[in-house]
Symmetry: C2
Subunit: 206 residues, 2 copies
DNA sequence: CACTATTATGAGCAAAGGTTCAGTTCTTGC
DNA sequence: GCAAGAACTGAACCTTTGCTCATAATAGTG
């Protein structure tokens, strides 16, 4: 068990190409091992083994086990943040349904891209790693603000309590997509998109 | 770490009153400790200490750590299952909006009753305890069937893809309520109920 | 009170697994 | 080709923690 007191930064900056490769192999192995075994049962020795690297090498680049998960989560979040930034400045004059569809589709695609099992593990552990929690919360806040602004300004929107509505919309999309894509018997992505868009559009514009 | 091979049943049936009290004190302590520290960091020694009982006593009633969480989850699920059974036979002639409101309200109340942090921990660990997973899945299936039947039969319902719709509705309510009630800055319960009902009603009946 | 069954105790065992570090091998620049 | 630094190795250490068991205390019974 770790104590979460140490920095999550790598202890050493790679200076040779092989080092960068090793680092990458370790991270990929970590993703696989966490996905297959979960976080607790995904031991660092197993990760090193899977990466074809000694346990010592692992600890040359990652100061502890948490740091591995942290880097995986940060990479995932950075992609999501970039996508949000795009949405923020997108054309707001198109009909609400199209904007909603864009948001839903982006979320679905992001969940088809990464393994949802890993995603779940990362989000489960995030609350235990304060530095990451901060990052997740920030992402959440930005998304919420963007959405509320949109609801307040777009002419198609008829809902009145935009404060609650934005929280409802953002969380519904995120949680439902995550759940229904990750299930053992996943919902068809197109159907999910259509139904979700229908639900949100009627809610916001009727 | 446990191996999950042993039965989750208590190893001894209490025959005296004090034993039953001890058992109860241990379970309550477990709930508190898991809530405060999470499952991994909620050690059995800490639970025994909090219960004011020796570690040996704990293991007289619960064969391993998992069994503690299992009993907590089973108690929670049994309440939820009972509530679902009621809904199943309820009057289906009232307007859809009222039925939806009943479902949403029940869910919200159940989440105000139990600590959502504990709930989250239980649902996170359930996949790792096969016996419990089965119980959770069964609950889920019943809820889903009940909902789909309702959507297929109720005259107010206009949605066509009732298969996807029922999954969407059930999961939306469960996940969103859980999240928005558990957050550090929780949504007002009445507002949440209203917006959620509005969203689902318009989706299903427009 | 005596005798048995039940319940409670807690020091310590054993396994797991995160992490270290002294030593070895490889790369690079001259 | 040869330092010198960078990268890599893996056996072993050490903490954590679930759990046992020999012993002690308490309750029930006649």
């Amino acid at each position: 068990m770790t104590h979460g007191k140490q920095p999550l930064q790598p202890r050493k900056q790679p200076r040779q190409v092989r080092a960068e490769l090793t680092r990458q192999r370790i991270l990929t192995a970590a993703a696989h091992v966490f996905t297959e075994h979960g976080y607790a049962a995904g031991t660092t020795n197993r990760i090193a083994e899977r990466a074809g690297v000694s346990i010592g090498s692992l600890y040359q680049y990652y100061p502890n086990k948490d740091a591995l998960l942290a880097e995986l989560l940060v990479r995932h979040l950075d992609i999501g943040i970039a996508a949000t930034e795009e949405h923020r400045w997108k054309d707001r004059s198109e009909p609400a349904e199209e904007l909603i569809r864009g948001f839903v589709r982006t979320t679905i695609e992001s969940h088809l891209h990464d393994d949802p099992r890993l995603l779940r593990i990362m989000l489960e552990q995030a609350p235990l790693l304060p530095e990451l929690l901060e990052k997740v919360n920030h992402h959440e806040r930005v998304l919420l603000e963007t959405t509320k602004d949109l609801l307040d300004q777009h002419p198609d929107i008829r809902v009145t309590d935009t404060d609650t509505a934005s929280r409802l919309v953002v969380n519904t999309v995120e949680l439902v997509v995550h759940r229904l894509i990750a299930e053992p018997d996943p919902v068809d992505a197109t159907r999910l998109e259509n139904e979700l868009v229908a639900m949100l559009t009627r809610y916001l514009t009727c």
